[in-house]
Point group: C2
Chain length 333, copies 2
C-alpha cells in the first residue's frame, strides 16, 4: 500500500478533499483504503472531519516536495472516446423512464454518457455488427445498441421482470431488434449456447458470482474470435481478486485486449443505487453525504483464442455468495 | 478475421483510405491483415491502387447499411490523458538532439507527446515517487521522468553506447538524478536485482525476446506491490502471442491493471526508424509512401501480487531470435 499512500499524500499536498473524491482518486479496494487511512490517521499524518480529509502539520512535512496534477482529459473524462450523439439523444429520453434499481439484485446503472461511450468503443472494434448477448441489463445497453440498427441480433437475459418488460416494450415501440428474456443465471442458458459473436455484462464482483456470470456469457459465444465486454471495479475487487479473474479468463481460452480504467461511471443522480445507502456498508462507515461520482469501473474486452470453455456449466446454486464477500462494501446487505 | 473484415468494410463504406491508415484502424497483426486484404481483393470486394484501398461495386453492396464514425477523442488522441506541459517543454528541446535510431538494435522512438502522456499516467498512479528501472531507453523516458525531480532513483540499462552517453551527458547538464549503464540484456542485471519499485520498457516483440526483457525487468523489482509499464503492439504481436505473454505475466506473479490501446505512437518525423524502410518487410510488401503515423502500441501496466518470479535467469543467448519471428514485419532485416 506504499504506492497508494503516495497517491493520497500527493493529492492532499494540494489541499483538503472529500473522502469520496479520495476514494475515487486512489487505486486500492475499499477495505484496503480504510485500513490505510486509519493507519495514516493514527500516525497523525491526516485528519478526517465532516467527510473531508486533509494533511496535519506532520503530514505536510511528509508530503514536502510532492505535487498534484489532474491530467485526466476533460473532453472525454479520461475514456479516450467521444459520444455517439445521434444515439445518445434517443437513448437518454428512453432511459429517463427506466425502472428504479432493485436492491435485492444489486442493481445500479452506468451513466448515459458511459453507455454511449461503450457503444462507441464497441463500434470501433467492429463488434457492433455481430449478434450480441447481454447478461443483466439494468444499464439498458441493449437499447443503445438496438438504436444503431447495426447488430444482427440482440438478446438480453435478465432476472428482473420489470427490466425485461421495459426493454421489450421499448423494442416494440421503436421497432428495435431486441429480445429480452426472464432468466436467473444460476440456470444455464439452454438453447442460447454457442449463438453469439459478442457478450456484454456488468457482473457481480464476488469471485463465485463473476465466475458464474462469465461462464454463462462464455457459453453463449460461437467460438474462436468471439469477444466479450465487462466492467470490473477496483473498489469491490482487490488486485488479488483481479489476479484470480485473469487466471479464469486465461483458462477459459481468452486473451485480454483492453482494460480501460474508469471507463464506466455510476452517477448519483438521486435515483441510482445510492438511494440504498442505509444498507450499504461503505456509507455506514463514512456517514458523510455523497458529493462526488466516485463509483466507477474499468472496461475489459476479451477475445477467444481457443474454443471458449466455461468454468461452470449446468445448474449452479450460489444464494448469498453470489453477492457478498469481504470486499462487497457497495452491495446492499 | 470476420470481425476485422467488418472493421475494414465499415471504414471503407465512407470512402477510400491510404493502406497505412487502414493498417492502423484495424485490429489484426500485419501478416493477418495482408492475408485478409488479399482475400478481399481476390473476391473482388476491394481494390488497392497507389497505396489507396477502396471498395469495388461488389464491395459497396456488401457494405450496404454499414457506417463509419471516428469516435477517438481529438483532444487527447484517444489516450484519456493530458500532457504535462512544463515537462514537455524541456524534454522536447533535449530530445531534438537525440542520437538517430540504430537498425541493428531495432530502435525507434515514441512521440514527444506519447512519452509525456506516459509520464502523466505514471504520475497519477503514484508510481513516479519510487525508484525506476528502465530497460532500453531510446525513448529517453528517463529524461522526462528525471525532469519532474520526483523519482527517488532512475537507472537505465541500455546496449547502445551512444544513448548511454547522451543520457548521462543530459543528466549532468540538467542536474538530473539518472544513471545510464551499458548493458546487454542477454546478461543478467547483477547487483541491480530487487532494487526498484517500478520498471519501464518497450520490449522487442518476439516471444523469446519479450520473455527475456520482462524477466530482467521483473528481476529488478523489490517485491510484492512493485509495478511495471511496457508497450506492446498488435501489429507485430498477434493475439495468440498476447495470450502467451499474458500467461507468462501471470506465472511471474503479476496482475494486469491496465491495457491502454494506441497509447504510444511512433511518429514518422523524417528521423525515426522509418528511415530503414529498405530493410523493413512491411515496406517491401506495400511499396507506397508512408503518409500516416500508423505504428502504435498499447501501454500495459502490471503489478506484482506475489513475489516476482522471472522466467529467465542468468546468461541467456538469443542472437537473431531476439528480434525476428514470422510477425516481425516492422523490424529491420
Amino acid at each position: 500500500m506504499e504506492r497508494v499512500r503516495q497517491q493520497i499524500l500527493s493529492l492532499l499536498s494540494s489541499g483538503s478533499y472529500s473522502i469520496w473524491y479520495v476514494i475515487d482518486y486512489q487505486d486500492a479496494s475499499i477495505p484496503e483504503f480504510f485500513k490505510l487511512i486509519e493507519e495514516m490517521e493514527a500516525e497523525g499524518i491526516i485528519k478526517i472531519e465532516n467527510g473531508m480529509i486533509s494533511l496535519t502539520e506532520k503530514g505536510k512535512k511528509e508530503a514536502e516536495g510532492m505535487q498534484f496534477h489532474d491530467f485526466t482529459c476533460k473532453e472525454c473524462m479520461g475514456t479516450g472516446y467521444e459520444l455517439w450523439e445521434e444515439i445518445k439523444k434517443d437513448y437518454e429520453s428512453i432511459a429517463a423512464s427506466r425502472p428504479p434499481p432493485e436492491a435485492k439484485y444489486d442493481q445500479g446503472y452506468i451513466s448515459i454518457d458511459g453507455v454511449i461511450r461503450r457503444l462507441s468503443f464497441i463500434f470501433e472494434r467492429g463488434d457492433i455488427y455481430g449478434s450480441i448477448f447481454i447478461a443483466g441489463d439494468d444499464d439498458l445497453f441493449s437499447i443503445a445498441a438496438g438504436l444503431t440498427g447495426l447488430p444482427s441480433r440482440i438478446v438480453v437475459v435478465e432476472i428482473d421482470e420489470r427490466i425485461v418488460n421495459f426493454i421489450n416494450k421499448v423494442a416494440r415501440e421503436y421497432g428495435l431488434e431486441i429480445e429480452a428474456i426472464m432468466h436467473d443465471l444460476q440456470n444455464d442458458i439452454g438453447e442460447l449456447k454457442k449463438k453469439f459473436d459478442v457478450f456484454v455484462t456488468d457482473p457481480v464482483e464476488t469471485l463465485p458470482g463473476i465466475t458464474l456470470f462469465l461462464s454463462r456469457c462464455v457459453e453463449a459465444l460461437k467460438g474462436i474470435g468471439s469477444v466479450g465486454y465487462f466492467g470490473l471495479t477496483t473498489l469491490e475487487a482487490s488486485r488479488h481478486k483481479w489476479y484470480e479473474i485473469q487466471r479464469i479468463l486465461h483458462d477459459m481460452g481468452f486473451v485480454i485486449t483492453d482494460i480501460r480504467r474508469n471507463f464506466n461511471v455510476y452517477p448519483d443522480d438521486g435515483k441510482n443505487f445510492f438511494t440504498f445507502q442505509q444498507r450499504l456498508p461503505v456509507f455506514k462507515k463514512i456517514k458523510a453525504k455523497n458529493d462526488y461520482n466516485w463509483y466507477k469501473s474499468s472496461l475489459y474486452r476479451i477475445e477467444a483464442i481457443k474454443e471458449p470453455k466455461p468454468i461452470i456449466t449446468g445448474w449452479h446454486k450460489l444464494g448469498k455468495a453470489l453477492y457478498h464477500d469481504n470486499e462487497s462494501w457497495v452491495t446492499p446487505e
